[in-house]
């Protein structure tokens, strides 16, 4: 029981990150039609830029202590958005005619480009990264009948959950109530229809790429204290983000968030069983094949209206 609760308290913040990653991946997939396999890798470069900026602030003595992190984060986020827009403008817009398989290989090529850049400009070493909320963990201890319960909750996870929640809610609001959100959804559902109402779909695609990679950078900055900063730091997060998007069925953006939460919890729950320790990722990946085959529309996809 205690182990289970503990699994959930660790799993949910972790899963929220997978979910946000998946959200961006699903967003690009829905609007531009590309499954971006370089998603986490370009975010990784943005995290490196953030880290370098922190160090630069330190060295230059402009900002002191923890404030340097907050001063550097906007730089990292902007770099993420810029990467997204550049990828779309310089590459993806020009290769829209190719098959899905070719498109996928192109993003794998981008993955190599980002990994190579990280190794070349920075280094393959593991660097530590500051937490948003440093400090000792919260410990909840049950009393009375629940005496056995003792759950540890990392302080930084609080920040992770709050940020993920705020982002999810504001994304939901943007998608539902703003013009650009409506345009993004419309473009994903019918590109010709979107153009017919005067939406510049090329511009929407650039915005989507920028937004999605900005989001991925947020995830990267939140993950970095745990994984530390190195060229493959976001590989698993990216793969599990894609998995989350698969669970969400790609057709619904927030399905990816639910999918991510489920994966995050599942990962920790599998961990509880000693015999399965270490196999959690493998098990999730094998499960995902089954989902792909038997429920390709995802398990969190909302009921779609029939298509006429």
């Amino acid at each position: 029981m205690n182990a289970f609760l503990q699994a959930i308290t660790i799993g949910i913040p972790q899963g929220a990150l997978y979910g946000l990653m998946g959200f961006g991946i699903a967003m690009i997939f829905r609007s531009a039609g590309t499954l971006n396999f370089s998603h986490g890798y370009s975010a990784m470069v943005s995290v490196l830029i953030t880290l370098t900026t922190i160090e630069w602030f330190f060295d230059a003595g402009i900002v002191e202590g923890h404030a340097a992190l907050f001063a550097a984060i906007p730089v990292g986020l902007i770099s993420g958005a810029v990467f997204g827009v550049l990828i779309d403008l310089l590459l993806m817009r020009r290769v829209k005619h190719v098959s899905p398989a070719s498109m996928l290989m192109i993003t794998l090529g981008l993955l190599l480009v980002f990994e190579g850049t990280a190794n070349l400009v920075w280094s393959p070493d593991y660097e530590s990264f500051p937490r948003i909320l440093p400090g000792p963990p919260f410990i909840f201890e049950g009393t009375g009948a629940l005496e056995e319960i003792r759950v540890v909750f990392r302080r930084n996870d609080l920040a992770v959950m709050l940020i993920a929640l705020v982002i999810s809610l504001s994304l939901a609001a943007v998608m539902k109530y703003t013009k650009i959100g409506l345009a993004i959804r419309a473009r994903g559902q019918d590109p010709v229809g979107a153009q017919a109402v005067g939406i510049n779909t090329n511009r929407v695609d650039s915005i989507v790429w920028g937004l999605a990679l900005l989001l991925a950078t947020v995830v990267g900055i939140l993950v970095a204290p745990i994984t530390r900063v190195h060229p493959t730091m976001l590989m698993n997060t990216q793969l599990l983000g894609i998995t989350a998007a698969v669970l969400g069925g790609f057709s619904s953006l927030f399905g990816a968030v639910w999918g991510g939460l489920m994966i995050g919890v599942l990962e920790r729950v599998i961990d509880i069983f000693p015999a399965l320790d270490g196999y959690e990722t493998a098990i999730i990946f094998f499960l995902i094949i089954l989902v792909l085959v038997f429920k390709p529309q995802g398990i969190f996809a909302p009921k779609q209206g029939r298509k006429a």
Binding site: F29, L35, L91, R94, V95, V98, S99, P100, A101, S102, L104, M105, I106, L108, G109, L110, L111, L112, V113, F114, E115, G116, T117, A118, N119, L120, V121, S123, P124, P231, M235, L239, I242, T243, V246, D277, G278, Y279, T281, A282, I283, I284, F285, F286, I288, I289, L290, L292, V293, F294, P296
Partner: protein
């Protein structure tokens, strides 16, 4: 077979070259590794390039092969029992996994198949990582442990791996050329079309998936017993991407692409680049290369080379053959006709003059075996624009060709002569006999160009282009027109080289001239005694066409059974009998 031999020579040559350049056998080890990856690469050529299923999970099959081999070596006494059994068990496990994963996953397409296979690949890697091996890196004994480490071992390993590679290359070739391979490619090109031909999509995709998994598992086992240590991440996502790079850059259609790609992706870094390139730059470059190849050269290097060979290098190759062939001495004479044109001919015997006119892409050589007709002075001439006679500007003008023959008859003072024309030469002979009747005493037309024009198929010009731009295409076309003697490769070779002497414009213009030929009007009041001889199995001119020619000329028609388009070559004795017999009658 030719490709296998060629490849074997190339491998040995590269080994020697590597030894000479580096002055040591270290490079041979790198080349062995290249061939190990190339075996896996050929598996990818089968599943990606020939079946069109983008799998990113095949590195896992390498991992399965490698770890199975390593575990059995550790568990069993001695080295070879474990090595052999481990490889076989690894193979079996790979097949089982390929079936288990392929059966559901191959129903998916595009992105979904890629995600499923990547999930499989990373899942296997993570599973291997999680297994608590007592000795996680395994110090695996070398496959040639008996040979002391050093140059001897490097060399023998190189040849052993090369032999294994060539075996799998041959197996791959056989598979891809078999009905299986045809079905794979049908699925790649159009699943709808493949299904309408009655292909069982799932079964055939699964076959390709399993075959490629076997290739990868073998490569994994070989990797283990040549490299000695294993790490799970060797077979992770990066290996999957490496395999992809190998087929995309090497070329996904031809098996050779696996070797070329492996050399670029595995070999070049190991041999040179790792020394000189800063860390990370290689990954960066390969990323850019992957994008560039997918966008600009999706067929990869191997197929690209073949295309370059056909489009760019065939014409100079054929020009070289022509140049050398022209240098060879040949018996015969040249006469300059009154128009100043040089015409080449050979002759034999004494008696009344008998003049042979050859067909399209031909020369006097087509009559080499029928020169001795008793009682005749036989003369075989190269028409203008053919063989060793001059080239004239009016390629494809049958009447002009006839006028040059008329001049030739005057120059040798052999008119009126007994004229025998074959195919296009028969068209020239008709034109000559109609417009210069005094120069022709009698006329024999062998499988003649139809008097009312030849019918050309829609794909004819594509065929002509192949013949014109490919020496092989030319040879097979010549062989086809040799009818029952098509198998005589020496003769086919000689006649193909003669054909190269033809004015290249003739390839298209002669065909056009034969298609638009119409001598029916001129045939009215034609008086020259004429015989039309038709080969019963002629694939080029039909018996019906020869009958129409004969009727228009008021000529006899003889059909010779059992021969094709080339009686003078296929049955010289019978040809001579026919020719001599008609003159007597």
């Amino acid at each position: 077979m030719r490709r296998t031999v060629f490849l074997a020579l190339a491998i040995v040559a590269s080994g020697v070259l590597a030894y000479l350049l580096t002055g040591g056998t270290y490079a041979l080890g790198s080349l062995s590794l290249v061939m190990v990856w190339a075996i896996a690469g050929m598996g990818m050529v089968i599943i990606i390039g020939n079946t069109g299923q983008l799998s990113l999970g095949h590195a896992a099959f390498m991992g399965i092969g490698a770890y199975s081999t390593a575990m059995f070596i550790e568990a069993l006494p001695g080295v070879y029992p474990g090595m052999l059994l481990g490889t076989l068990v690894g193979l079996a496990i790979a097949v089982v996994f390929a079936l288990l994963i392929g059966l559901p996953a191959l129903r998916l397409r595009g992105y979904y198949l890629a995600i499923a296979t990547i999930a499989f690949g990373v899942g296997v890697e993570q599973a291997i990582r999680a297994v608590p091996f007592p000795n996680p890196v395994f110090n695996i004994p070398h496959v040639l442990g008996g040979v002391p480490a050093g140059y001897m071992r490097d060399i023998t390993t190189f040849f052993l791996i090369a032999a294994i590679f060539l075996v799998f290359f041959t197996i791959g070739r056989v598979i891809l050329q078999s009905p299986f391979g045809v079905k794979f490619r049908m699925i790649r090109d159009s699943e709808v079309a493949a299904r309408s031909y009655g292909t069982n999509l799932t079964r055939n995709k699964l076959q390709a998936f399993v075959i490629s998994a076997v290739f990868c598992a073998i490569a994994g086992s070989l990797f283990a017993v040549t490299q000695g240590v294993l790490q799970p991440r060797t077979f992770g996502l990066m290996a999957a991407i490496d395999l992809l790079l190998i087929v995309i850059i090497g070329g996904a259609i031809m098996l050779e692409g696996g070797l070329i790609g492996s050399f670029i992706i595995v070999g070049l870094p190991a041999l040179v680049l790792e020394e000189i390139a800063p860390a990370g730059s290689l990954t960066l470059i390969y990323g850019v290369l992957l994008i560039v190849f997918v966008v600009a050269l999706p067929s990869g290097i191997a197929t690209g080379l073949v295309l370059v060979w056909h489009r760019k290098l065939q014409p100079p190759y054929m020009a070289a053959i022509r140049f050398v062939h022209k240098l060879l001495p040949v018996r015969g004479n040249t006469v300059v006709t009154k128009s100043g044109t040089r015409m080449f001919y050979t002759e034999k015997g004494e008696g009344s003059p008998l003049l042979y006119l050859h067909g399209n892409t031909g020369s006097h050589q087509w009559f080499r075996e029928v020169m001795d007709v008793p009682g005749y002075r036989t003369i075989a001439v190269d028409l203008v624009n053919f063989g060793r006679s001059d080239r004239v500007e009016v390629a494809g003008d049958i009447d002009a060709y006839a006028d040059h023959v008329s001049d030739f008859i005057e120059s040798l003072d052999i008119g009126p002569c007994y004229l025998v024309g074959h195919s296009l030469g028969a068209g020239v002979a008709m034109s000559l006999a109609m417009r210069h009747p005094k120069k022709v005493r009698r006329l024999v037309l062998v499988d003649p160009a139809p008097i009312d024009g030849m019918e050309l198929d829609d794909d004819f010009y594509a065929l002509i282009r192949t013949i014109r731009n490919s020496y092989r295409g030319l040879r097979s076309s010549i062989a086809r027109s040799m009818g029952t003697r098509a198998k005589d490769t020496r003769l086919a070779k000689r006649l193909s080289r003669e054909a190269l002497l033809m004015n290249e414009e003739g390839f298209i213009k002669h065909a056009k001239a034969l298609a638009s030929l119409d001598l029916r009007d001129r045939a009215r009041g034609f008086k020259t005694p004429t015989l039309v001889v038709h080969g019963g199995m002629d694939p080029i001119v039909s018996e019906e066409q020869s009958r129409r020619t004969a009727e228009a000329l008021g000529a006899e028609l003889t059909v010779v059974d059992g021969v094709g388009h080339a009686l003078p070559i296929e049955d010289p004795e019978h040809f001579k009998e026919v020719v001599a017999g008609f003159d007597v009658a």
